[in-house]
Structure formats: C-alpha cells, structure tokens
Symmetry: C2
Subunit: 468 residues, 2 copies
Amino acid sequence: MATSWVNSAERIGSDLHLELTGPGGRRAALIRALREAVRSGRLAPGTRLPPYRSLAADLGVARNTVADAYAELVAEGWLTARQGSGTRVAMGVLRPAARVPRKAPPRARGPRHDLTQGTPDASSFPRTAWLASYRRALQQAPNEVFGPGDPAGRIELREALTEYLARARGVHTEPGRIVICSGFAHALRLLFGGGVLRGPLAVEAYGLGFHRDVLAAAGVRTVPLPLDEHGARVDRLGRERAVLLTPAHQFPTGGPLHAARRAAVIDWARARGGLVLEDDYDGEFRYDRKPVGAVQGLDPERVVHIGSVSKSLSPAVRLGWMVLPERYVDAVLAVKGDREAWASVLDQLGLADFFVSGAYDRHVRRMRQRYRGRRDRLVAALAEHAPHIEATGVAAGLHAVLRLPPGTEASAVKAAAWQGIALDGLAAFRHPDTDMAADDGLVVGYATPSEHAYGPALEALCRALPPP
Amino acid sequence: MATSWVNSAERIGSDLHLELTGPGGRRAALIRALREAVRSGRLAPGTRLPPYRSLAADLGVARNTVADAYAELVAEGWLTARQGSGTRVAMGVLRPAARVPRKAPPRARGPRHDLTQGTPDASSFPRTAWLASYRRALQQAPNEVFGPGDPAGRIELREALTEYLARARGVHTEPGRIVICSGFAHALRLLFGGGVLRGPLAVEAYGLGFHRDVLAAAGVRTVPLPLDEHGARVDRLGRERAVLLTPAHQFPTGGPLHAARRAAVIDWARARGGLVLEDDYDGEFRYDRKPVGAVQGLDPERVVHIGSVSKSLSPAVRLGWMVLPERYVDAVLAVKGDREAWASVLDQLGLADFFVSGAYDRHVRRMRQRYRGRRDRLVAALAEHAPHIEATGVAAGLHAVLRLPPGTEASAVKAAAWQGIALDGLAAFRHPDTDMAADDGLVVGYATPSEHAYGPALEALCRALPPP
C-alpha cells in the first residue's frame, strides 16, 4: 500500500510543482492540479494519495494547504477519505477517453462580396455616439435599474419611442401600450407562442422564410396573400384572424401598400374582428419622398406595430418593440413573465438616451443619405452595364430587386456565386403554398457592404447579370 | 359643398397655426396636425379639405407644403383625393370614442423592507468598472460585431468564460461547447422548448416556481426528489431522463449536495444515459470556506452547467451561459436559430472584457465580503433577539432560511408583511407533487436591500419573528 502512493506522490510532486502558481494562490493551484491529474489519468481511480505532511514537504507548501485541498476535492467528489484508509482518488471519477475537442469549423472561404439583404453596413455603427448615450444613461440611472426589471421594458425607452414613433412614423400610442422585445422574431414568439394570438395568419406571398419558420414552430398556419403592383391583395382576406404585412415597403419585392389597400385592410379588421400585424422593418429609409406613415395610426386598436433597431442601427443591439392595442397588453406581458427575461436593461437605457438626445435622428439621416447614394450608384450601374434589367423597390429600404426574364433566376444566382457574390433570388422568399405566378429576380442588399467594398461588389454584380 | 370646408378650413387654420412648429419642419408639423384633427374628430370623415392655395395662404406656408402634406396623408389612407371632388377626409378613418389611456397602475405602497430572495443589492452595481469594460470592448471591436451575430454568442465571451469557469468553478470545457443565453429561464426554454431534451425531469422538492412554470409551459412534467440533510435524494432517481439540481447551494433550503450524492448522480447518469442539469446560480458566494467546484467537472459529458450574472452582477445585464456536453451543442444551436436573436452582442463584449480584465473577480470578492457581513449580522441579530430560531443554509449564497416551528410559517409571513417586510415562506418554493414532510421557514434574501436599508430591515424582521 505504502508504495502505491510513493510513486504517485513523486509524480504528483514534480508535476504539481510546475503548476503551483496562478490565480487564487497555492491552495487553488493545488486543487486545479490535482483535478487535472485525476482527469488526465495520471492519478488513477483508487490511487491512495500521499499524507498531507509528505506532499506538503515535497511541494514546499504548508500542511494546511494540502489538507484544505484534499477536503475540497473530497467535497467535490474527486477524492474519497475513509478513516484508516487515507485519501484516495474516487472510483467513479471519469478518466475520459481521448476527448475530442470541439474544433472551430474550418474557416470557410466566404464570398468576397456580401449583397445579402437584411443588415445595415456594419462599419457604420455610431460607436462614439452610442457610447456617449450608454455612459450618460448608466451614470444617471436610479439604482432600481439594476434590480429585477419590468417585463414591459424600461419606461425611459417606452416614453422615448412614444415620441419618436409619433413624429417619425405617425404611430399613435402611449408608453403603457409598448412592450420592448429583442426584435421581430421575439415579437412573433410572444404573440403566437403563448397563445395570445392564434392562426391561421395571412402573410404576403413573398416574405422572410425565417418568420414563417418561427410561426410554424409556434404551430401557426400561414396563408399566403398574392401580391400585385399595389402590394398585398388584402381583398383576398377571408377567415384568417390576423394578417402580417410590410406596408411601408413590401419585403422583399419593394412597393408600398396602396392607400386604398391600407384603408381596406383596416375595414377588414373592423368588420371581422381581425388584427393587422405591421412589420415596419425599414420604414425610416425612404429616399425620394418623406416616409409613408404607419398603418397603425389609422386605427391603433386594430394594428400591432412592430419595429426594431436591427436595420436602422445594428442587429447587435437586439432591441425591438411592439405597439399594442390596449386589449392585448396584459396578455403579452403575462407571456413575457414576471421579470424582464430577455432584453438587456442597460442597452434599453442607452437606446432611450440615443433617441432623446437626437443621436438616432442624426444617425438615420446620415445612413439615409449614404444608402440613397448606393441606390443611385446601383441604378446608374444597371443603366450603363445592363439596361435591359429593371431594378424595382428602389424608392425605399436597404435592398432592391433586379427583375430577370422568366426562368433565369437560378442561373443568375449561380453566376453571382461564381463572381464571389452572396445574395438571394426571389425564390428564397416565396411562400411554399402560394399560387401566384413566380417572378424571377435578384434581391440585392446594397446596404450590407462597407463603403469601400460597395464599388467592387457592384462591378462584380454587373458582370454576373445575364446578357440581354 | 363650398361651405363645408370653409368652416373647417377656418378651424384648421387657427388650430394648425398653433402647432406648425416642431421637429421636421412645417410640412411634418402640418401632417401631424391634420392627422390629429382627423383622429380627434375635428375633421369628420367625408369633410372636404380646403384647396392647397387657401390653406397655404391661411397658414402662411408655401402651396407645395400643403400639397405635399395632402399627398402624404392620401398615401397613408387618412385622406382621399378624387378628380373633381377635391381632397376629403377618408370615410374609413376611425374617430375613436373617448380613448381610454392606459394608466400606470396606481403606485402601490410597496413594502418598506425588501428581503425577497433572488437579487443582488441593486445599489452595488459596479457602474464605473462596467462602463470602462463596455467602452474598451466597443472601441476595440471589429466591425463584424455589428452585423448578424453568432447564435452561440460572441467568441470573446465564450473564451473568457472557459478560463473563468475552470478557475473559479472547476468547470472543464472549451469555447465551442458554451452557448450564451439571456439567463437560466432562457436556457431551460432552449433545452426543452425545442425538443433537444424531453421530460420527465426530476427536480428538487423545493425550488423556484418560476422554473417549474417555464418547464410546464414547454410541456415538461417535473418529478420532485425529496431533500434531506445531504441534499437531494438522488438515490430516488428512476426513469427520468434528466435531473435539475442546485449542487453548490440547494435552492432555497441551503446546503451543498453531499460528495457521495455528487458521485451517485454521475453514476446514475452514466448507467441510465441520463443528464444532470446543474443550476450554479450563486456558486461564487461561499463564506466559510472556498466554493465547492461544479459537478460538471466530474463528467463534462453528463452535465449541462448553467450560470448567469444575475446574482453576481445584476439581472439587468441579462446574460447567462450553458456549458454543454459535446453531443448537444448542435441541437441547441439549431433551436436558437440562424441568428443570435436574444442576447445583446454589445453587452456580451462588455462582459468578456469585464472577466478578462479581472473586474469580475474584484466585484465578486467585494460582494462576497459585503454579503458575508450581512449574513453575520443576521446570525448575530437572531442570537440576540430570537435565539430559538435557527438560520440554515447560511454558509453560502444570498439568502438564509429561518426555521420555524411546524404550522407557524403562514402567520410568520403575515407578521412580516405587517412589519412592512416583503419575503417568502418555504411553502412558496415547494413542489406541488412532493410527499416529503413540509418544513416551515422564512426565506430571507439578505443581499437584496442596499447597505443603508439592511439594518432597519433586520430590526423589522426580528420584531416579526414568533416568540419562543
């Protein structure tokens, strides 16, 4: 028995000696070293450990340090201590087979030109202004900010949004009817995942597949509405309980919902007790005239207005909002739970200051100008290099649709990939159940690249387009 | 017809004149004023509006300003314009009945002393150190931070956690097996809400009702394990597929899981293919000896280790983590979705710096000392004023349990309320299906008040306790 630990102890001593430094002092270092020795198999299950005194002398540490470390590891289940049998490595402790470390996926050679829709130019994030707002907000915040949160979201942000959305988007609300969330998908989950709303839900025949997936996961059947040059055919609404629309700028095909349709969908909601979900994903970005106000303003009790800063600022901030009809507020808060379980309270405070200080308006103005310039360059490049291809949906937003001759979309997407361009064709957004005729087109996210990358991306795009 | 607008126009003119200032210039102000006039009923549906020229002259603005405003409101559906019939207020536009503004709930007179468990002292948030980390992180961040996120969470944070959790909690992992989330409830939803794990799930007979609610909402049946002086009776585990434990400090009764039980639950997991969910909610706060390392270290392939900064820093940060066995990583990421849809990416960067810079260690050390002081004051106050009442679970954590004679808990909670104290009895944490004998006790969250509020809260508590 005596020899069983002598050899081990010698090894332990020499092994551990090397490692007996690091954060937390020698005791913590000894614990780490012993754990590692057991884990690696250098100390096999059942091995008797040297008495405190021997190991302490060997390592040049106090006897108590070793005693403490053994006691700790007994409490954790690595070692066992029995009267008369000394301290041993526990039998149950895993000696793992060569553990396969989870490697980072091989660094894929990404596309050289990113023209996928959906994200703002990541290099444009207003770091200095954001930091100034965040610091001001945190310094001025009352202590209760750091306690359990309000599931509706910070009142400062809801007040700022009430003012901003009225002014910029024609939304008519008050702070008590706004619920902060992490973005559009979170809003859908809160509305449908907890039973506040039920399907079937009418959606536009072209839209974001990610949203359809979120809805499907919540058990909601979606029914596609065909689109025409005036937007979604809301006259086709039937027994659905709600309809999800992108009225300011149909996603992804690009036009605004016609005024008559805006009125008609509100009429439908009133007559049928239906609800309009308004996805105002890029309502601030309209280039050739002022933005069209939100449908919500026409009847705040029939419309849930949903927005976020994912397009206007950055998806990294992960903040959005729902402006709710009075009668849904309590139900949505009940789904959210007693505490703010999702959105960063600190970022909410920062964003409130960002709105109130005017920094948000300044940033949107700057980005509107920048994206308008990119839109103009895209249109000009097409006019010069591919005059047979029409760009639609260019009056607003962060993307355009390049219309293609029927049957040519798939090969155009492939040609783009050959040129190192990442983008999607319209088919990627098509509702699987729609019977409307398929349109061929490329969805070009001209906001995505950084300023210096946009020119080369545009040139590559022109090379990829099909000849007349 | 002509008169129908003359009166209105006069009123419009005088009304609007007052309001034609504000953000966005006169055109935006005119649009807002007209919307409000329609909404309030001052302009009834069908009312013909004055010609551009008349209103422009009346208001002293350019004719184009009025024309633009009308066109905007036609596009938005507030007005209709027909050849020969002029511009009219749309028939469908709501004239709301006296809208009931959603009032803030009457300001309840809250308890004077907050001793509910679960939150750190909100006044202790390290604002300066946090701001320094956040600023440093944002200034140094590459641009891609502001684009679409990694659903696993920022690599900087996962690397920092790998190092920190190994050092402070004995967790054995690597960044590729960590998934960032918004906190413990979010972790449960990711694990059970998307079908990665299924019930039945064994839980401790006393625990957080909120967690049981989240699990119930995900359709997971929970089976209570009785507790004794060594913690959960893991020998009672049967056909459950997983068990949720608080090994470092049973919540809320307070003891650590005995070393033999730690080993036994790992044995069970190996023999039955089961999984241990380790809720390490306050593992850093142990006062009379160093923290007990995580069970995860005993077998990283059988334990999901879950932690957050909600107790150590603030629930307002809304960040937590799961350390997963290799085989669950992809499934959890699939449930999370293609994009990081929840946790603030900016706060993740800030927290990574907070760990790496040592600020987190410093903060935890400072709070450990502060809470130990409070724990000592609680024990001393009891010894002096209520020596018949034993405080248990005081070796660690942010709360203690004051044991009461059988049948006296409900009246003690009431007596506390009379003294203006908010706290819960043990009954609030009891699993409804457990058959273990009920214990009577008060759960005292001694970390919750600010420093200056703690003394008075303690005095009130002593007054509220039942006499011997």
